[in-house]
Amino acid sequence: MIGLSHYLIVSAILFSIGLMGVLRRRNLLMLFFATEVMLNAVNIAFAAISHYYNDLTGQMFAFFIIAIAASEVAVGLGILIVLYKKHGSLDLDDLATMRG
């Protein structure tokens, strides 16, 4: 029988994959993809908990996460376009201008 732990573990693995992407990537677009992966991983955990505790709150949170992810993509892509116009690149190594 599939229990809550199974879902949570899958969610954890997916989250770690997203984390690896965030760590590994230097291209901003790919970083956005990795962030989407992490958000979806969390959504799975919310939906699973909601199901196993018979409580709708988890699903509510998943809805709001989707809404936030959508607006994040809208604004983020706008910024990416502006950056690309300015620097001709989306690589973080090229964008590093604020060296301390």
Partner: protein, 632 residues
């Protein structure tokens, strides 16, 4: 009457503030004049209060404001003018006024003239707070205030450099000031403990409430409180073993010595014992200890005065000795006699000191009486004043000192303490000897000062006139004894000689007189016709012992100051520098290094920041996991 109380109290304060306005500027005569006038106003107010209290027999009690009001502790800023405090007030303001006027002449060449008056008036204000307060807390404030002013005034010439102990036993004014201050702090700890004991057991610091409650207290508590308070009194009144500061305090200007270290501040200890008489009457053991210690100090100080060559130090030792007499009387229960001796002593001792100041002024700060002699030709009036004061001090009949000292010695007989009586009688003879040794060496005989190229001159006329009230009082104060007894015994317990003592009083008086006259005669024989130095005597061990003050200052230096300095040094070098400082420095260095190293994290590259963020997040996760596992 309330107005008079405030005028008497705050006129010196106003004077101090006024003089302080000109503290750093040039010498201005009017500062001294204004200060003297304000002090005179204070004296007049005190005298009017004295007449009022004398006439009505009622004490004036005012509460200016609430001072401390916390929980059960309630200490108002209150003042009481009763028979005891009004006596002190009158004496203090009278002597202070004269000293202020005297200082205008004495300090006329000093560039810190204005500052001096500021300190002097501040001292008088503190002393007034001390004697007028209606509770122990106010008394303590005044107590500390006079300590601070004494420190300021002893160290008035703070710019003088330190010299070796052989050259000047007091090393330097600033050293003497610090010594006085520190010794008083040690004693003040005792006093504070006494106040705490009283507050703990009574729940109040008001005199009337405390004294109403003491008869119901446990004997041990009473003894502890009385002893602790007396330790405070020992410091202020320079009783053995805290006596060394008083002679060193002679480094201050002479008017200061006259005002603080003879007439007023040093009597604060005696005042405390008199004020707390309901407490001390209940503790006969402590009282007997006070009497015994007082008698010992009377003899001890007089013995050191016998051989000293420094004019001011001789008078300082005699002050110590007379304070011993006062404590002997207070310890034996004759509080009013102690208070009477206190007042009489204030007059003639201030006169003596001011006379010494005249001599010092004339001799260009030379104080060695072996270098003086024959000054009577140029300083007739000073000779007269010092002669009167010395007669009074020696206890020659009908001068002030005769009545009061005789009464104290009679008390010692009356109480059956024959040993104390004998010592006090011998001390009376010694007192007469050293006072006249000093007078004769200074004013009579060959003019030794000439070989040092000094041209002495008499003090200004107005200064001499200002001193005259003291001279008059030194002569006549004794005749007010019965009236005084009648006056103060309304508050203080009366003390009467027994029938038997009364019967033989004239014999006792005669014995004292024989000793006193004997002392004078001996001094006359040895010193009247000039100084003949006796090498053999001066090299004998007992002479040296006395001249070096029983080596007590050296002992303190060797066995207290030096080990303490060594310990402090070790604590500084080992503990403070190696542990405390090193820890603080280590923390600072650690933070600095951390900042320096972690600065490299700021690459400006978002990817690096993300990596660090991930490291932090994973660390938190690990911590959360471990704590979750630990909690279960």
């Amino acid at each position: 009457m309330e107005g008079l109380v405030y005028i008497a109290l705050f006129a010196p304060f106003a004077s101090s503030l006024f003089a302080a306005l000109f503290g750093m500027s040039e010498r201005k005569i009017f500062v001294g004049v204004v200060a003297s006038v304000l002090l005179a106003i204070s004296f007049v107010a005190s005298a009017m209060l004295a007449f009022y209290v004398y006439g009505t027999g009622h004490a004036v009690h005012v509460t200016m404001m609430d001072w401390i009001n916390a929980g059960d502790l309630r200490i108002p800023f209150g003042f009481v003018v009763d028979q005891v405090s009004v006596t002190m007030m009158t004496v203090v303001t009278l002597v202070s006024t004269i000293v202020h006027i005297y200082s205008i002449g004495y300090m006329d060449h000093d560039k810190s003239f204005n500052r001096f008056f500021s300190y002097l008036s501040a001292f008088v204000f503190s002393m007034m707070v001390l004697v007028m307060s209606d509770n122990f807390a106010g008394l303590f404030i005044g107590w500390e205030g006079v300590g601070v002013c004494s420190w300021l005034l002893v160290g008035f010439w703070y710019h003088k450099p330190d010299v070796s102990r052989e050259e000047n036993p007091s090393i330097s004014p600033s050293w003497a000031a610090n010594e006085a201050f520190i010794m008083n702090r040690i004693a003040d700890l005792g006093m504070l403990i006494g106040l705490f004991i009283l507050y703990w057991n009574v729940g109040s610091l008001q005199y009337d409430e405390v004294f109403a409650a003491v008869p119901f207290l446990d004997g041990t508590v009473l003894n502890a409180a009385a002893l602790a308070l007396f330790i405070g009194a020992m410091g202020k009144s320079a009783q053995f073993p805290l006596h060394t500061w008083l002679t060193d305090a002679m480094e201050g200007p002479t008017p200061v010595s006259a005002l603080i270290h003879a007439a007023t501040m040093v009597t604060a200890g005696v005042f405390l014992v008199i004020r707390a008489n309901p407490l001390f009457s209940l503790t006969p053991e402590v009282s007997y200890f006070i009497a015994a210690l007082g008698t010992f100090v009377a003899f001890f100080a007089a013995s050191m005065a016998l051989v000293n060559r420094d004019l001011k130090r001789i008078i300082a030792f005699s002050t110590l000795s007379q304070l011993g007499y006062m404590f002997a009387a207070a310890g034996l229960g004759a509080y009013w006699i102690a208070l009477f001796h206190l007042a009489a002593h204030a007059f003639f001792k201030a006169l003596l000191f001011l006379g010494a100041g005249n001599v010092m002024h004339a001799m260009h700060d030379e104080l060695d009486i072996f270098k003086m002699g024959g000054l009577k030709k140029v300083m007739k009036w000073t000779y007269l004043y010092m002669g009167i004061a010395s007669l009074a001090l020696a206890g020659i009949p009908f001068f002030a000192g005769f009545f009061s000292k005789d009464a104290i010695i009679e008390t010692a007989w009356n109480e059956g303490t024959i040993v104390l009586w004998a010592i006090l009688v011998v001390t009376a003879g010694m007192t007469a000897f050293y006072s006249f040794r000093q007078v004769f060496l200074t004013f009579e005989g060959d003019e030794r000062y000439k070989q040092y190229g000094i041209h002495p001159h008499e003090m200004y006329r107005y200064v001499l006139i200002a001193m005259s009230p003291l001279a008059v009082l030194a002569v006549v104060a004794g005749f007010g004894m019965e009236g005084f007894e009648h006056f103060v015994t309304k508050l203080l317990p009366d003390y009467h000689m027994s029938e038997h003592t009364h019967h033989i009083a004239w014999i006792l008086g005669l014995v004292v007189l024989v000793f006193a006259v004997g002392g004078i005669a001996l001094a006359y024989k040895k010193y009247y016709h000039g100084l003949k130095r006796d090498e053999k005597l001066e090299n004998s061990w007992y002479y040296k012992l006395l001249a070096n003050q029983y080596y007590i200052p050296v002992l303190y230096e060797e066995f207290i100051s030096k080990p303490y300095a060594m310990i402090s040094d070790a604590m500084w070098n080992k503990v403070d520098m190696k542990i405390v400082d090193a820890t603080v420095d280590g923390i600072a260095k650690f933070l600095y290094k951390t900042g320096d190293e972690t600065r490299k994290m700021q690459t400006g590259n978002l990817s690096n920041y993300l990596n660090w963020m991930a490291v932090g997040a994973v660390l938190f996760l690990v911590v959360a996991a471990i704590s979750a596992a630990a909690i279960g």
